[in-house]
Symmetry: C2
């Protein structure tokens, strides 16, 4: 089977694979953003638009 875990750094051509990758990596990215804010007392804002145009966002809030 194909080697797992590794990826070339370029646009994923297959639409379905790209959508699946997007969902998984988006989750990971938001988690990392949250951890950076909490662990390091930083303020973080993250905006992501999917290729389909859907918006996902996160903002740490010290003042809320």
């Amino acid at each position: 089977m194909a080697r797992r875990g590794r990826v070339e750094l370029r646009r994923i051509e297959d639409r379905t694979s790209r959508q699946v990758r997007f969902s998984k990596r988006r989750s990971g990215l938001f988690k990392k953003a949250f951890e950076l804010a909490v662990l390091c007392d930083a303020e973080v804002a993250l905006l992501v638009f999917s290729p389909a145009g859907r918006l996902y966002e996160y903002a740490s809030s010290r003042c809320a």
Copy 2:
């Protein structure tokens, strides 16, 4: 020695450790943001303020 690689999800009390952690995790986060944009054809904006108030930013740009 203490166990490596693991971390509790709360503010790091030691100032120096927190700054070191911040630098490392900030690098990782920006890399992940870039990869998401490239691999998945997404638009990503990321803003981070360090505890010292310094700004770090990234924005993918499909239209630039």
